[in-house]
């Protein structure tokens, strides 16, 4: 194995180094005590990556997400999280969720923002800024007045230097050690393409120092080149590429599969009591080695038809016009060899 890997490295070092199983990516880039950005708001959630973090029992993570649901619940309920920068946690039921029990059991500290301001903190980091202006509605609320682990650095209020007499609220940039995102497709360089409701995916991913891109499909670089507007993460920013079909399940992914409502219901019902929740975790996270096994188990348990129910009948997006005159300047301006030889600014230099 080692020899083979070295051979590959000699051929295309920067390429094959990035494509790896999810287990390896999480092991390599998420450490105990890391800060982790989840680059999604509800859908598509990088569930495959989340499950791997839980499987590897990472501890003391600081997690940031602009709008959460079962992703953060799974992390909090299994004791991975110490601090959570939160803006919303989807509550399906009035009963006690696994999230509620996890907060208590592991003394998780929560700092509250809003979907937009949590996104703005990540956007500031992605843009290389130190902070981002926040709306005054934040200052009019207890989100401003009540502070947890970020203390006075949660939100600052200054005199607006450009508008006399007005105040300006600022939220700090948040630069996670690593972010996880699930997209439709990626090429071997790590150019990640996504479409549909983009929510906070781009900013959430680009905010971090290392980006783990989980993708439904690996496509040729030529496919990316045909629709460069759809690329949200350039390859040079991607640290790990994990090809994870159904990596967002049970959340949906535009053009691939819908949110799996029935499976989500099974999950929610199991989450209402600790014992049934542990059973669920043992079956769907600890009982499988990776996402491929998770899907195999799903098909084995519910049948292939269950998976077919959520598959999307897609229609192609209309193509846009890219292109050019495809004429070089030599051709376009009629530049001949003779003209070039007579260019007036030549210097004569001696060569050995």
């Amino acid at each position: 194995m080692v020899i083979r890997r070295e051979v590959i490295l000699l051929v295309e070092p920067e390429i094959h180094d990035k494509i790896m199983p999810m287990a390896e990516a999480i092991k390599k880039f998420v450490q105990d005590g890391s800060s982790l950005g989840i680059a999604s708001v509800g859908e598509p959630s990088p569930m495959s990556a989340i499950h791997e973090v839980v499987r590897q029992k990472k501890r003391n993570l600081t997690v940031i997400q602009a709008g959460s649901s079962m992703d953060i619940e799974t992390l909090v309920a299994t004791g991975c999280v110490k601090r959570f920068i939160s803006s919303y946690v989807y509550r399906v039921t009035r009963g006690e969720r696994a999230y509620d029990r996890g907060l208590k059991k592991y003394n998780v500290e929560v700092e509250d923002y809003t979907n937009y301001t949590a996104a703005a903190m990540l956007m500031a980091s992605a843009m290389g800024l130190s902070c981002f202006p926040a709306p005054m509605s934040l200052v009019c609320s207890d989100i401003y007045r009540q502070r947890s682990f970020l203390g006075e650095n949660k939100i600052k209020l200054i005199d607006n230097p450009f508008r006399l007499g007005e105040k300006l609220a600022l939220v700090p940039a948040f630069n996670p050690d690593v972010s996880v995102v699930h997209v439709q497709r990626v090429d071997k360089f790590g150019n990640a393409q996504a479409w549909g409701p983009l929510t906070n995916m781009k900013w959430g991913a680009l905010a971090a120092r290392k980006i783990i891109v989980s993708a439904e499909e690996l496509v040729d670089h030529d496919v990316v080149k045909l629709s460069p507007n759809n690329t949200i993460i350039p390859g040079f920013r991607t640290s790990a590429i994990c090809i994870e079909p159904f990596g967002g399940h049970p959340s949906g992914l535009t053009g691939y599969y819908e949110v799996d409502f029935a499976f989500g219901m099974v999950y929610v019902m199991s989450s209402l009591a600790e014992e049934t929740y542990q059973d669920w975790l043992n079956e769907w996270i600890f009982g499988v080695a990776n996402r491929a096994e998770y899907i195999e188990h799903y098909i084995e348990k519910y049948g292939y038809n269950a998976l077919e129910r959520i598959k999307v009948q897609y229609y192609p997006s209309s193509t846009v016009k890219l292109g050019g005159t495809f004429k070089s300047y030599t051709e376009a301006f009629g530049i001949t060899q003779e003209m070039m030889e007579q260019a007036p600014e030549f210097l004569e230099v001696e060569v050995e």
Binding site: V41, S137, C140, S141, P197, T199
Partner: protein
Amino acid sequence: MPKKIKVTLDEIMCVRAAREIKDGDVVFIGHGHPLLSGYLAKKMHAPNCVLVTEGGIVDPDPYRPLQHPNDFCSTRGASMCIDLPETFTTILLSGYIDVAFLAGVEIDKYGNINTSYLGGLHIAGSGGQNENGGYAKRTIISVRGGHFTEKCEYITTPGYLDGYDSRYKAGLPPGTGPALVIGAKGVFRFDEVTKEMYLESYHPGVTIEEIKKEIPWDLKVSPKVVQTPVPTEKELKIMREWAPTVALGKHFFQSVMMNYLQSFVAETQARRQKK
């Protein structure tokens, strides 16, 4: 003899909210009631209203109700797909949202809302509500499952703060604020000067006394108080065809889901027996 119709509380609330949308309005929607109200308005009296979702979908024509605000079925028929920070900055914070919907777990007499903490328990959080409450021209607040309170345990989303002009003194733009509160028993508006909530209409079958009992302050009642309008047959037809699980109420939704789940589980068991 007046004709009797069957209607749910959810339908009464959704229709009341829909009628508050004017043709041409730009409307920030989520899922559930707000989405249905926006959809209904577009199909009825406001064909030129533009719906906007948090995740960046502008002017969608979803084939079924969204199951959460960023459900991708909203991409069908959409005119523009952007992202969350773009939606909040270029559309909401810069003043282009006419109507936004909010939901309150707790609401006080000035329309301030709590969706964050109840008895110290972290219940949900702001989501997109704080900015919508701050910057939409008119907000419609639903308190279907929540309650009215003298003082919110936590103010997640500003309404009129302490009443009068306190909201604007605190830095929120003029011409914004809560317009309508739709409760489970009645509909409320805000006094133009004091910004205190008053009763505008009571739902069919509910008395003003019953409503007053649920409100912990001395509720003022509009001299023109009327019964909340009942949905028309056309409105009911549109809602039930497109969003039966929203229109027909939570219990209907739960029973549909339980049936669906049971058939799912039954298939699993049948598979096991075959093996």
